[in-house]
């Protein structure tokens, strides 16, 4: 800022800095409750799992580079393909979206100083870390799960998977599910209660609508998965009967419970990406989003409708005709809100004056890949077509286009977009563009031929294939594409890593951004905003008079909330100022609670029931500890 700061302002800022100062060093990171630090922790941990999942993918592709290869034996291949899916979905994409982007940006975008439950926020991170380690202890000890990421029974039952691999799968997912549920609850309460006074719902950025929709979807979808996993473990470890026909169970029960979770999960994966796209586009085309209310409504509808279509994953199972027809029809309905968002983005780009910088390139790549993935998805609603292509590489093509192309591309774009805000430095633009093109081309070379292979009859999850099948050429191309894709991603992250140390200093608002985070420093101070911002529209940064008023308020000490770790709470819809909340600052309890939980899950895995009971009691004590220090004593 080149404007000279009046002395009163400096005094206030110093006071806020003192109040909100983070404990230094490692201890500070271990006990932090600051949403930005937690976001950064989530970022690097999810990135690690992205790498692990990527290595698994490259191993799979290397095994499939030609017919009858022996890079991986069938047991290892099955472990790699199961772990790849599980890692990417549960330990990369959702934690990166919700935990990294959501945690870091939601309070900033709504003009708040932290999430509604800061210590719970920290706890969700430590649980995520412990759960990921838990799964990978299984992987590295030769006990990775090997029944696929959706783990159908009876293959996943004790009789056909006697080792502990499936137990690692089920327990690590139950464990991380606690984190994701708590994270979703935190996001919902934050978005409803902690918005800056004046930010009524219709003035809230679309990014927040997307995260609100995602969080509600998680709250209602995760319990179905938890139920399925609990029943599975009761059957595997304690001899209960739910899925085995001979004792009155039904394997299709697993499929129903799993997909009641699993289908909303795929919308959970993609909605944050929609939110990021709707943040980046207005900034780079310098125009407000076309049909804003329709887009907000569409984001909510996608989350809601996603609950009614799960059995379209089960069209080959032998369900009644009427049932399959209903689910096909319902699946088609989801195309509408997706279409509305898609054309709103495209129209905004066409009618604006776009600057094709790296973040926008990623979003345009996302739009193209999402259309392709969406189109192949629509074809599944043609039931006879689905009954031919399900379980083939056609499906693998579809979901990689929508998950990798449509969910990950915006994440990468978002990393470039918010890089200056988080680090205070700019990345190398030309290098960024080159990395985008490398990745985009690699993505298409890897995944497009899979449509053809699927239509040609190549089933998924096959560890090898014969030379006489005619699948050799395309598999070779896909594997080379995968290596190219990996190179593209390495280039992406090398750019960011090097720019972290060598990039040019960035100011508060290098892009001319539309949302509030661009009004504060880069990186933001611990307290985010010295003054709780005034908000009159969803494009707060483009309302100059409001930002002027903030500067005056800072000088006069209005809405600076300097008496402690304070942030305002407002009414849910109209954001009228209701209370001033005192936020916790540092706590050692979150990592301790997470460790106690990890101990309980480990005891269950090892079937040490007494140990599990003892550690449950210890867990209860840590939870009591968590609540010992009440806010007024902070």
């Amino acid at each position: 800022m080149t404007v000279s700061t009046p002395p009163a302002t400096t005094v206030r800022i110093n006071r806020l800095e003192r109040i909100w100062k983070e404990t230094p060093g490692l201890l500070g990171w271990l006990t932090t409750t600051d949403h930005k630090r937690i976001g950064i922790l989530y970022f690097f941990t999810s990135l690690f799992f992205f790498g692990a999942g990527g290595v698994e993918a490259l191993l799979i592709r290397t095994q499939l580079i030609g017919p009858n290869q022996s890079t991986l034996d069938p047991a290892t291949f099955n472990e790699m393909m199961s772990t790849h899916g599980t890692t990417m979905i549960f330990f990369f994409v959702v934690p990166m979206s919700l935990g990294a982007f959501g945690n870091y940006l939601i309070p900033l975008m709504i003009g708040a100083r932290d999430m509604a439950f800061p210590r719970l926020n920290a706890l969700t991170y430590w649980i995520f870390l412990c759960a990921g380690i838990f799964l990978y202890v299984g992987v590295f000890s030769g006990n990775a799960p090997s029944a696929g990421w959706f783990d159908y029974v009876p293959l996943a039952s004790k009789a056909y998977s006697p080792g502990p691999g499936i137990d690692f799968y089920a327990l690590s997912l139950l464990f991380v599910g606690i984190s994701t549920t708590a994270g979703a609850i935190n996001a919902i309460v934050t978005i409803f209660k902690l918005r800056a006074p004046g930010m009524s719902l219709n003035r809230m950025p679309l990014f927040c609508f997307a995260f609100l929709a995602v969080s509600f979807a998680l709250v209602f979808a995760l319990p179905a998965l938890s139920t399925a996993l609990i029943l599975l473990e009761l059957e595997r470890l304690l001899g209960f009967h739910f899925f085995i026909p001979a004792s009155g169970g039904d394997p299709i029960l697993w499929q129903n419970l799993f997909w009641i979770f699993g289908h909303p999960e795929v919308y959970i994966i993609i909605l944050p990406a929609f939110g990021i796209a709707t943040s980046i586009i207005p900034t780079f085309v310098r125009q407000k989003m076309v049909a804003f209310p329709l887009v907000a409504l569409a984001e909510i509808l996608v989350a809601f409708l996603g609950f009614g279509v799960w059995a379209h994953h089960m069209f080959a199972v032998g369900l009644a005709s009427a049932t399959t027809i209903y689910f096909a029809a319902a699946s088609l309905v989801i195309v509408i809100p997706s279409g509305i968002q898609l054309f709103s983005w495209i129209t905004t780009i066409v009618t604006g004056t776009p600057r094709f910088k790296t973040p926008l390139l990623w979003i345009i790549g996302f739009i193209v890949l999402f259309i392709m993935g969406g189109l192949s998805g629509v074809t599944f609603a043609a039931i006879p077509f689905d009954q031919q292509t399900t379980d083939t590489y056609y499906v693998v093509a579809h979901f990689h286009y929508v998950i990798f192309g449509a969910a990950v591309f915006p994440l990468l774009g978002g990393m470039y977009y918010w890089f200056p805000k988080v680090t205070g430095r700019m990345y190398h633009e030309r290098w960024g563009q080159a990395s985008f093109w490398l990745t985009f081309v690699g993505t298409n070379i890897t995944f497009f031929p899979m449509h053809i292979l699927g239509l040609d009859g190549m089933p998924r999850r096959n560890y090898t294939y014969g030379p006489e099948m005619g699948w050799t050429g395309l598999n070779l191309i896909e594997t080379l594409g995968a290596y190219l894709l990996a190179l593209g991603l390495l280039s992406v992250f090398a750019n960011l890593a090097i720019s972290l140390f060598r990039g040019e200093r960035a100011g508060n608002d290098p892009w001319g951004g539309d949302t509030l985070e661009w009004s504060t420093t880069s990186p933001p101070p611990e307290y985010n905003y010295a003054v709780i911002p005034k908000v009159s529209s969803p494009y707060a940064m483009w309302d100059e008079e409001d930002r002027e008023e903030d500067r005056r308020n800072l000088e006069l000490g209005r809405k600076t909330l300097e008496r402690g770790h304070e942030t305002p709470a407002s009414t849910a819809v109209d954001a009228e100022w209701d209370e001033i909340l005192e936020m916790p600052s540092h706590s050692a309890w979150p990592p301790l609670v997470a460790l106690a939980m990890a101990a309980v899950f480990t005891m269950v895995l090892l079937q040490q029931w007494l140990g599990a009971a003892i550690f449950t009691a210890i867990l209860a004590l840590t939870v009591v500890g968590f609540h010992l220090k009440e806010p007024e004593e902070a």
Binding site: R12, F117, A224, F240, F242, G249, P631, E632
Partner: protein
């Protein structure tokens, strides 16, 4: 110098003592964050119970005889009476919250203690019934037994957690009331209303073959 434009906006966390906590609660226009968080947690637990109950009926409709393999149909009277006992504790819980909001902390404490005692008795009686059941058929016998015990044990676990919450509150409220503890009491009451509703759903499912 720091001032708030509307000086009537409470710094809620500073509220301690019976009158202040109640005043803060009365001044609020929306429910506190803690209550919202509890409501969402209850939503997830309600979904969990729905999935378990759906599983019960899914398995039922895949099976001919229910209960199968000569397991006796559950007896109706005692479970219903006990459930009624639990649902009845909603009244002292409700009154406890009302008392606390009005500043009558001792009354609130005793009402909570009464509710806790009945809830604990309920759990004890239910466990006794379950042990009786276990003596006649084990969960590993067939799918009916497995879902039967899973459903009621999940409910008992929720009751146990509620009792732990009660115990914590009784300990804290004995040392006085603050805004934080008042929110906690509201959350506990809300949680118990949920557990009561879940108890009715669970017992009706459990007794379904006999109804």
């Amino acid at each position: 110098m720091s001032s708030v434009p509307r000086s009537s906006i409470p710094r809620s966390m500073e509220a301690s003592g019976p009158g202040e906590a109640g005043a803060v609660a009365a001044a609020r226009r929306t429910a506190p964050s803690g209550w919202w968080g509890a409501a969402l947690l209850i939503a997830t637990e309600a979904t969990l119970f729905s999935c378990l109950i759906a599983t019960y009926f899914y398995l039922r409709f895949k099976t001919g005889e229910w209960p199968p393999n000569g397991i006796e149909k559950p007896s109706v009277t005692l479970p219903l009476v006990f459930t009624g006992m639990l649902v009845a504790t909603s009244l002292p819980m409700f009154l406890s919250v009302k008392a606390a909001k009005g500043g009558a902390v001792r009354a609130a404490w005793w009402l909570l203690a009464l509710a806790t005692a009945v809830q604990a008795t309920y759990l004890g009686l239910q466990i006794h019934l379950m042990v009786d059941d276990l003596n006649s058929f084990s969960p590993q016998v067939n799918a009916y037994a497995s879902i039967y015990y899973t459903l009621i044990t999940t409910h008992h676990a929720h009751v146990a957690i509620g009792l732990a919450l009660d115990a914590w509150l009784l300990w804290k409220l004995a040392r006085g009331i603050t805004n934080y503890r008042l929110i906690a009491l509201r959350v506990a009451a809300f949680y118990w209303y949920f557990v009561s509703v879940a108890a009715v759903a669970v017992v009706l499912t459990q007794l379904y073959p006999s109804l």
